[in-house]
């Protein structure tokens, strides 16, 4: 199935507000095996100059995935999700997310390119506080393997 190149540059609606919680950060840190106290101990995080426990650098994927799924899952784009693998991931950060942040995420399809029988689709997802502060931008590239 061909990917619809006219989707390049298309921006999808922002997600509903997501509240970053201490419990979710602690669960994520435990799952990746990272015992850094700044993820679980609010006192240690405050002593290090943060308002509350902070989230690990890859935590924003939890938030960007929900937004980029809306873009990648759009039937008009024509991606066969069963044939998709995660090819690349990048984040830029103005600061770490912390417990208490309330954020929305919005995705734009920023790249579509074909390499042989594979199609690579990149979504750029901005995570902003509900006050409009840009905290993190995620760039995820999914690779659809050709079925022929």
């Amino acid at each position: 199935m061909a990917v619809n190149a006219s989707y390049l540059g298309r921006t999808f609606p922002a997600t509903e507000p997501y509240e970053v919680s201490r419990v979710k950060i602690a669960d994520f840190a435990e799952a990746i095996g990272d015992r850094n106290p700044l993820y679980t101990d609010a006192g240690a995080a405050k002593a290090a100059g943060y308002p509350d426990v902070i989230a690990p650098p890859t935590f924003p994927i939890v938030i960007t995935m929900a937004a980029s799924r809306a873009a990648i899952g759009d039937p008009g784009l024509g991606i066969d999700y069963a044939m998709v693998v995660h090819g690349e991931q990048r984040f830029t950060y103005s600061r770490p997310l912390h417990a208490g942040d309330v954020v929305v995420a919005q995705s734009t399809i920023s790249g579509i390119r074909e390499v042989g029988s594979m199609t690579m689709v990149t979504t750029q997802t901005e995570i902003k506080t509900t006050g409009g502060e840009l905290v993190c931008t995620g760039y995820g590239t999914l690779v659809e393997r050709g079925s022929e």
Binding site: N36, L38, P56, P57, M65, A66, R90, F91, P96
Partner: protein
């Protein structure tokens, strides 16, 4: 804590290795919300042509992130972080699982106390991350 003045271009970070077991993947499914069956169901993983259950790419990226923030000494130091998933981390159903081995080299010192680190992640002799790079802000 590593300071900007401490680091020199070309310096190698001390290598580290991190285990990944089936339990790690089950926990990561729950914590991340990514329940793709190839990360927990061997029968389906094999039926789609994989050698076994494989780790989430983002689990491997998380280990690389931990490697960098542990070195920097501040979990909030990351300003840029990017990887390419170049091979699978295959996780067998035993008590040992797999190992992800990280190494890194200081690549560049930039304005604003920023330091770029080039990273390599391997598992069973395969390079599982390529073009992996992190930029941290150091005091």
């Amino acid at each position: 804590m590593t300071t900007f003045a401490d680091v020199a271009v070309g310096t190698d970070l001390p290598p580290a290795s991190y285990p990944v077991t089936r339990l790690s993947l089950v926990k990561y499914c729950g914590a991340s919300g990514d329940f793709n069956v190839i990360h927990w169901n061997e029968r389906i993983a094999r039926s789609v042509g994989l050698p076994n259950v494989i780790a989430h790419g983002m689990f491997t990226m998380a280990q690389a992130g931990r490697y960098v923030t542990d070195w920097a000494g501040d979990a909030g130091a990351m300003r840029e972080f990017g990887v390419r998933f170049s091979a699978m981390v295959v996780v067998p159903d035993d008590d040992t699982g797999a190992t992800i081995e990280l190494s890194g080299t200081v690549e560049e010192k930039l304005d604003g106390n920023l330091v770029a680190v080039a990273l390599t992640a391997r598992s069973r002799d395969a390079k599982v991350l390529s073009r992996a790079r992190a930029v941290v802000r150091l005091p």
